[in-house]
Amino acid sequence: MTAFDSATLGVLGELLVNGVLFGSMYGVAAIGLSLIFGTMGIIFLAQGAMIVLGGYAAYWAFRLLGLDPYLTLVVLMPVSLLVGAALYQMLFRRAAALSDRNTTLLIAVGLSFMLESAMSLMWTPDPRSITTTYTSSGFEIAGMRLSVTRTAGFLVAIVATFVVTLFLRRTMIGKAVRAVSEDMVASTLVGISPHRVNMVAFAVGIALAGVAGCTLAATYTIDPYFGFLLSLKALIALALGGLGNVGGALAGGILLGVIESGSSYFLPGWGDAMGYAAFLLVLLFRPQGLFVRAMKKV
């Protein structure tokens, strides 16, 4: 069934483009994870649940106020920055100071359980979708058919990556985030307070979850329990790109999207397995991630 017929070759390009557009969603999720992991070493498994929460915000804004999800995105960003800062202060401030990784891992898991359950209780476990005029429409470009919302999601991902990169490279606090990610001890010796930096990194990470949530809800159907799977995928994307590396995280997400979409074509049903296999191969043979060298220049 996997034989190459002529049509197969014809669709390869489309497959690739679709994988890229689709993977950018993993990428945005992975950037958030990357910031949080880079500074605090926290494997934040609740990122997926936070994204779904952002998705619900977009859904309710649309349903109750008629707000377009991309407009909600703009409003949600400052809100989720605050939420992120508060989460850090409440849940991770103490634990980030411990070097025992289990503690923060479990807090993230506990948070994820709570969020899933709370969303399910408050808003029922029914799947929710936003249906706008442009939902499930596509457009033709260079003979290829692209989804409007996915393309929008991709553009949002690119912009988000660009903004975060700018923040990390141009602002002093952004540089401090990078410094803490690389060497926490040396950072304190130049006068950086790790707590402030951690809080900022966490806030930005959660803001990205808000962004990802809005594009997710604009494109897909959400339910309270989707988050955990998304966290795992984002983790893979992160490892593909290199732990604690923003541009790499986006690239890793896109690569994962391409792998999944490609292997769904050639090995239907094995898409997830291929993703994990790529993840393991990279961990074993290139643990610094696939895109680290490229990032080093600049």
Binding site: A97, D272, L283
Partner: protein, 336 residues
């Protein structure tokens, strides 16, 4: 010795637990099932404790070994044994543990020789998922995503499960205790403190890490087998569920990671909390469980046993469990 009294109490507790079935009506009481569940959790928690608590390698694949153990049991039972006459079989239990240990060796070798710390944790997570997908896609051999089931007809009471569970829980705990007093344990702890120094002083780091990982896999496989004997059916959704890794971690960390009795206490308490939340708040219990996990991690991240030790003015049992090598532990602690 500081711990002596604790060990005596533990021995008395084991005796008491062994006598529980003699209490009239006990076997049919829900609490009896609760205890059985605790035993399964103890075995799993000790398996994780051995790998992570003592060698500092955080494994996120214990659910995969649990699942492999369960699948081995049911697959062999349905394939080779007469369905109607079959019940608990020590050989099958052992075979399930060993199969899981083999998987652990196969996974552990590439991972442990290449990765440490978070990368190792992520690697185990990836392998666990691949095993799960392999079972889903296994077709007739593994029953696909529906899994495989055996006849539950031989079941009469929970008593044999209870006794085997108690035996395994005690054996796992004693194994961890004995191992840690042996030269192997010494080597493992040396590795946890400082793998470079351990290697320099002639310890074959990889071999010992692998040994701990394989024994951990063996114990998880036993737990899976025992649970399969109780459920009579295995499926990827039920047995390859990440909660079989996360709960033991929680129990270990709560009770005191890298201590012999910490995971035991953790298993008793956490299972009680989960069960109680499930009984009284069906539908909302993950909120309670999740909140509790967070509260425990925030307010006693070092676990109950260590907390007690501190209160009593004793030095905590060398808290290096919380400070993996290469980390500037003091630095990080002072921010708190």
């Amino acid at each position: 010795m500081a711990g002596n009294r604790l060990y005596k109490s533990a021995a008395a507790a084991v005796l008491a637990l062994a006598l529980v079935p003699l209490v009239p009506g006990a076997v049919d009481h829900y609490a009896f099932f609760y205890l059985f569940l605790v035993f399964v959790h103890i075995v799993l928690a000790q398996s994780w404790n051995l790998v992570a608590g003592y060698t500092g390698q955080i494994s996120l694949a214990q659910h995969a070994f649990f699942g492999v153990g369960g699948y081995t049991t049911v697959l062999i039972a349905t394939a080779l044994m007469d369905e109607s006459g079959f019940y608990f079989n020590p050989l099958l239990l052992l075979a399930s543990g060993l199969t899981a240990a083999l998987f652990a060796l196969a996974i552990g070798y590439p991972l442990l020789s290449k990765l440490a710390g978070d990368y190792f944790a992520l690697g185990t997570l990836g392998f666990g998922e691949i095993i799960r997908i392999g079972l889903v896609k296994g077709g007739a051999a593994t029953g696909g995503s529906a899994g495989v089931s055996m006849s539950s007809e031989p079941f009469e009471t929970l008593l044999p499960h209870y006794l085997v569970g108690l035996l395994l829980a005690v054996a796992a705990t004693v194994l961890v205790a004995v191992l840690m007093r042996s030269r192997i344990g010494l080597a493992l702890m040396a590795i946890r403190e400082d793998p470079v120094a351990a290697a320099a002083s002639g310890v074959n780091v990889l071999r010992f890490k692998l040994l701990a990982f394989a024994i951990g896999g063996f114990l998880a496989g036993l737990a899976g087998s025992l649970y399969a004997f109780y459920v009579f059916s295995v499926s990827p959704g039920g047995f390859l569920n990440l909660s079989w890794t996360l709960y033991p971690i929680l129990m270990c960390v709560m009770g005191g990671n890298g201590t012999v009795l910490g995971p035991v206490i953790g298993a008793f308490l956490m299972t009680a909390v989960f069960t109680a939340a499930n009984i009284w708040l069906p539908g909302a219990h993950p909120i309670i469980s999740g909140g509790l996990i967070i509260a425990v991690m925030l307010f006693m991240p070092e676990g109950i046993l260590r907390l007690k030790a501190k209160r009593a003015g004793r030095q905590p049992a060398k808290s290096a469990a919380a400070t993996p090598p290469g980390e500037s532990s003091n630095m990080q602690r002072r921010q708190a």
